[in-house]
């Protein structure tokens, strides 16, 4: 029977299958961060259990770390305790950790691929919903809760039921100024935030194949915003080239053997999908979100919706609630939305290509006087690379702040946050109420669009600034 890529990875990891379909799945790679792990380690201690495979586990502190000068440590007491708890737990259980001052430190979903810890055909989990990012390598990667983190630490397995197969095909070529961020926003707008619930999404089509590894990560990263726990893309030469000679990639003879296996990782002709949609790349335009759910998308040329046009009562109430929170008027043009802050970074768009894309727009330009803007590289290595290329200077000269790596204002657990009613053009992944700070208003955009918004002082069309 022809199988999907997801079927293949699933079948390859079955340790046990009960009659009712409940499976015990082997986990090849476990990423750990400071926020969702302390209670899991505490659970292990309370029941006298050990970590089954410390070698298959990699830890890094990212959510709580300051993005300003770190020489004096973390000033917030609770954040400090959480980061120190991670350090102590990793020491006690023998887990490799990239500490706050290690240049390999970064957002867990940037660090994993960078180190070659992320590999095709593996099952990768992390107590973080954006684990879907790693699916870009053709791995089955998904977020789990803390009880499941504990389960993986103790058993290197996870109790799961098989999800449905959902394929999203994107074909054609993207117009100038349109990026993979716009593609995923468009997909979420189309399927809705619950459209992928109970599914694993495979992204396919010639547009997807034409994307770079990092662009693929942006798409897979936001799969969870469409409700699917995992999103994946069949690995190809671009992936193998990316992984070659990374510190944790297979070496020597193992490399050849691994590549041979990785090449088999694709959906068979005629495999059955429970759901399938098609998008044409030429029809995708630069997108923004106007509301408080990632499905609230419009193109930069469009207007904010009018609840009066909605017949469905629930939908109407929800639109009104969002508009009210966002401080927007119905039918307002996207380009008339004035912004206060710009955030470039996060596990969605904090990689070197993202920074290059924004820097290209910002070169020799100044940001609007009323805008406060910052770049937070996804990892110490991204930061180093950007500095070697002189991108930091472009950002700083245009008026951006150049920060230390971490999750930062994507979720505002550290000091980087919006004040009530402040409005931000953000390259992150969630525009939920209060996500970037209580009362803060988030518009999700691509790095180029964030740069354009910073220059104009309002949401604007990146194509205006393309050379």
């Amino acid at each position: 029977m022809p199988n999907t890529l997801y079927d293949k990875i699933w079948n390859d990891h079955l340790v046990d299958l009960q009659d009712d379909g409940t499976a015990l799945l082997f986990v090849d790679r476990h990423l750990v961060h400071e926020v969702t792990s302390p209670q899991a380690f505490e659970g292990l201690r309370n029941s006298n259990r050990k970590v089954r495979h410390p070698n298959l586990t990699l830890a890094v502190a990212d959510h709580n770390v300051p993005t300003t000068d770190r020489s004096k440590g973390i000033s917030d007491k609770e954040s400090k305790i959480q980061v120190e708890t991670l350090e102590a737990n990793c020491k006690e259980f023998g887990i490799k950790l990239f500490g706050m001052n290690d240049k390999r430190q970064g957002i867990v979903h940037v660090t994993g691929p960078e180190q070659g810890f992320t590999q095709p055909g593996t099952v990768i989990v992390c107590g973080d919903s954006h684990t879907a990012t790693h699916g870009a390598f053709g791995s089955l990667a998904f977020g789990i809760g803390t009880s499941e983190v504990e389960h993986v630490l103790a058993t290197q397995t996870l109790v799961q039921k098989k999800a449905k197969n959902f394929r999203v095909n994107v074909n054609g070529k993207l117009p100038l100024g349109v990026t993979s961020k716009d593609v995923i926003l468009q997909i979420i707008g189309k399927i809705g935030t619950a459209g992928g619930t109970g599914c694993v999404i495979e992204y396919a089509g010639d547009l997807i194949r034409s994307l770079s590894v990092e662009q693929r990560m942006t798409i897979c990263n936001m799969t969870i915003e469409g409700g699917a726990r995992a999103g994946l893309i069949a690995p190809d030469e671009k992936i193998f080239k990316y992984l070659k000679d990374r510190p944790m990639s297979p070496k020597d003879k193992d490399w050849d053997k691994a590549v041979e296996y990785w090449k088999s990782l694709k959906t068979d002709e005629g495999a059955k999908f429970d759901k399938e949609i098609d998008l044409q790349a030429e029809e995708i335009l630069p997108m923004i979100t106007w509301g408080t759910s990632p499905q609230d998308v419009i193109t930069i040329d469009e207007k904010v919706p009018n609840p009066q046009n909605e017949k469905d009562e629930d939908r109407k109430n929800s639109l009104e609630r969002s508009l009210n929170y966002m401080g927007l008027k119905p039918n307002m043009a996207a380009k008339d939305i004035k912004i206060d802050k710009v955030f470039i970074g996060s596990c969605t768009n904090g990689r070197i290509e993202d920074l290059r894309e924004a820097a290209k727009i910002l070169k020799d330009k100044k940001i609007a006087a009323h805008v406060h803007a910052m770049v937070v590289p996804g990892s110490g290595l991204v930061k180093e690379q950007a500095e070697q290329e002189g991108l930091d200077k472009i950002f700083v000269n245009s008026g951006f702040e150049w920060r230390e790596p971490g999750c930062s204002m994507c979720l505002a657990m550290n000091a980087d946050k919006l004040k009530p009613q402040e409005r931000c053009a953000s390259t992150s992944n969630r525009n939920f109420e209060g996500r970037q700070g209580r009362g803060g208003r988030t518009h999700l955009v691509s790095p180029g669009m964030a740069a354009a918004a910073a220059i104009s002082g309002n949401l604007d069309d990146v194509r205006k600034y393309q050379n």
Binding site: N55, I144, R435
Partner: protein, 201 residues
Amino acid sequence: MQKFNTLKSIPAYLPIVNIDTDMIIPKQFLKTIKRTGLGKNLFFEMRYDDQGKEIGDFILNQNPFNNSKILIAGKNFGCGSSREHAPWALLDFGITCVISSSFADIFYSNCFKNGILPIVLEEEKIKELSEYANRKEEISVDLNENKIVYGNNEIKFDVDKFKKKCLLEGLDDIALSLKKSEKIENFEKDLKNQKPWIFND
């Protein structure tokens, strides 16, 4: 884990769709290293004003809903972040059953690890049940029988058999999986042969 068997309570009705886990428990409370004590911060931003005073309009600030054990909410409940702090906060507040027409996957599975029963019902049934919240009348949930009893009516609901067993018996699923240690070891042996690069040694 606390067992879940039957439950009787006046339900609280929160008719908002796409309630995300940031709404259930905002990030500033994720800095804890404990599972307990989060109940006071449940739905923090909707529940308290800028001065930290309770907002009277919010359902869980009103008597008798401040003692509700059952929450009825709009579709796609628990979307967003995987934070298990969301079910921990619900549990600490006293809510051990959430009823919605759909749940986000990670939240749904997190509930079962914490003795909370998430129930999926059709929107129409949700509206019927919400009337009981409006009238401040009790409804009861019986997991053994897979049913909700309200007035003289009852609705059946579906729940995965294995998950049901774990809830009813309060089972520790790590202990259950460790009973399969031999199978895990065999799998690992095969893996070492077939994909030696996985183990990083």
